[in-house]
Symmetry: C2
Subunit: 399 residues, 2 copies
């Protein structure tokens, strides 16, 4: 009989929390507000916080990851939030209303912060993004993050780079004060989007092997180093088809796929998870932002000889254009001639291109082939020579 | 010294006609309003209509194709148009204004007719589409053309199927009368979009071999059966990577690629044109319509064992949905498990999916792999399980 042990189970789509009783009717035992304190793979037992234990034949680790907080004084004050799950979102929403927040400071420049900018500005809240480095979403090329910074400005979001965060304090009038090396910043609410952190205590206790990335090592069937124990989602690694190695890439769609693969294998229908190509996207105000594969820096780190081209093209055929631009960067390997990565930003058509490039990366196409790909051309959706062709041919010519 | 012999040369983008003199300055000789009456491959000569002849080392056939007209009385009356090139478009535009046209009848249901519906309705012209068969754009599945017919209706375009066209006459008050087996239909303007027709006279005279399709047979470098003679564009065949045979597919982006390939080979930089996957798209009012690969019927005709799934999904993640739908059909081969084709229709995100599927077809991916493709997931652009995954997994399960 399958058990699900965890915090609470939420049906995110309907914002309804499913009760353990409802699950019980489907033959699944659900234990909420229960901690697993230890795993004994020898005996096939999980020990729970209420001192009971449950025997298992198959165990699935789906322990996920938590949003990290900066390690500074005051990081836990009321009004300082992280955004990881639905509960976080509901808490932030209530706080904004109850405290009549007028000013938000977002720490970090990842895609969750980018998405939050839009949500906060839609509520009319003064919004400032502060980062330690020079730019937001550093996975994207400088030329592309310039476009993103412009979009933030256009939507009256202040972007402040190169900041050292020192502490958060409660001001005299009840607001928060973010202490930085650039001075004090007042805020009604602070959101930290500074990455994630895994708790490997249980994994280590069970003796499950970790990969180079520090996340749980799995094989192509999601099996860990211990027979009968599987791992899926943000607690484990995934195979990167372009990098040709196991990496840590905690993204929701990957977790979904891993869950399916583990389930099929456990259910006696063996299937292998082919891996990922690092495809990713987000929307910031009216901009579509997408990427897949490796950046030049990542590629060099993995031993490739990257070369690249960046073009500013059109998302539609020239006669249909009303001025929208599309920025596309492609990366290829000089040694093998293969496409290694793509990044795209634009008000329109950027994700369309990353959909195509993701499959090209998945299939290991050469940059020369990418320059001749047959794409569904029509002027409302692209030129007879698509931005993808133009960028690929630029690299081919240079090689 | 290169020669260009043809009708007129147009810079479509700027609506400016480039003069032969302007071309002359770039070292290209241009002869306009000149017919090539004969080709003598033995002597390497083209004979012109002014009785002169030009010697050649390399000859490129780029004779294109013409829009067909129905073979019925009155098909050439003033006010009856085809739409093939810029000149046609300008003529139609002038006629609509000069004659203050209020009612248009479009014969045929191809994508040019679909696109014209939008242009005519934008001008407030009463628009009727009449076809010989049951449906428009028959390359798309019945379920998908239902959506297209709905979109026509929503935009007050009448769609009349199963019509036999008998004649066009000039009515007493100057309007056109289209005689059909369903009675007379009045119109101020009639547009025929009933396919294209090639004039092979010159090709046959030169002894250039035709392929099975009846268009010029070429190899992967665009060379015809006669050494030194190349062919590109709508006059020649192209290799279909999914069908694994040479087909006739006269589309603008393919012609562009063939021109480039011929040019590179002629210029001493040998390159092969990998072929196409039958990727195609058009926009009809607010609908994106795309397809790539083979339909079930085409696949069966080529000896595959097609199976398919059609789903009605969402173009965005469920929490972001405001009701837009996406219809997606995938076709796969039961014998090899390979993806054979995809068709997609929706107000949003349809072309994005066909971009990905085109590359999957290009790469010969299996339907099982398509079910696990890594796509750039974010709720504004799709679900964690994309419509592509859902449809592919449906086929995989059934196989």
């Amino acid at each position: 009989m399958p058990y699900y042990i965890g915090d609470v189970i939420k049906d995110y789509n309907k914002l309804v929390i499913r009760t353990p009783e409802a699950f019980g009717k489907t033959g699944i035992n659900v234990k909420i507000k229960t901690r697993v304190d230890d795993i004994d793979p020898q005996k096939g037992l999980v020990r729970l916080s209420d001192d009971s234990s449950i025997p298992y034949d198959i165990l699935v680790m789906a322990t996920g990851a938590n949003a990290a907080r900066l390690d500074i004084p005051g990081a836990d004050l009321a009004g300082v939030f992280v955004l990881r799950n639905l509960t976080d979102a509901l808490r932030i929403k209530s706080y904004l209303t109850e405290k009549k927040c007028r000013k938000a400071v977002l720490i970090g420049g990842g895609f969750i912060v980018m998405e939050m900018c839009e949500a906060l500005r839609n509520l009319g809240i003064e919004t400032t993004v502060m980062v330690r480095g020079c730019r937001p979403v550093t996975r994207w090329d400088v030329g592309l993050t310039d476009v993103i910074i412009d979009e933030l400005k256009k939507n009256e979001v202040s972007f402040i780079p190169e900041t050292k965060f020192l502490a958060i304090e409660r001001g005299t009038s009840g607001h928060l004060v973010l202490k930085t090396d650039k001075g004090d910043v007042d805020a009604d609410v602070i959101l930290m989007g500074v990455g994630i952190r895994r708790d490997n205590t249980l994994t280590r206790a069970a003796g499950i092997e970790l990969g180079e990335s520090g996340a749980i090592k799995v094989d192509f069937r999601q099996q860990t180093s211990i027979p009968g124990i599987y791992a899926v989602g943000d607690c484990c690694e995934v195979f990167h088809k372009v990098a040709r190695r196991w990496v840590y890439l905690p993204l929701g769609d990957i977790a979904n796929k891993q869950g399916r693969v583990a389930g099929q294998n456990i259910g006696g229908h063996p299937v292998e998870f082919p891996g990922v190509v690092g495809a990713q996207s987000f929307k910031v105000f009216s901009l579509e932002v997408g990427a897949a594969g490796l950046t030049e820096k990542e590629a060099a780190g993995y031993g490739f000889q990257p070369t690249s081209a960046m073009i500013q093209g059109l998302p539609v055929g020239r006669p249909m254009s009303s001025g929208e631009k599309l920025w596309l960067k492609l990366v290829a390997d000089k040694t093998t001639g293969k496409l290694l990565g793509g990044q795209c930003v634009g008000a329109k058509g950027a994700i369309q291109r990353i959909y195509a490039l993701s499959v090209a990366l998945w299939s290991g196409l050469s940059i020369e082939e990418v320059g001749y790909l047959d794409l569904p051309y029509a002027p409302p959706f692209g030129g007879a020579w698509d931005a993808i062709h133009v960028a690929a041919q630029e690299i081919t010519k240079a090689m």
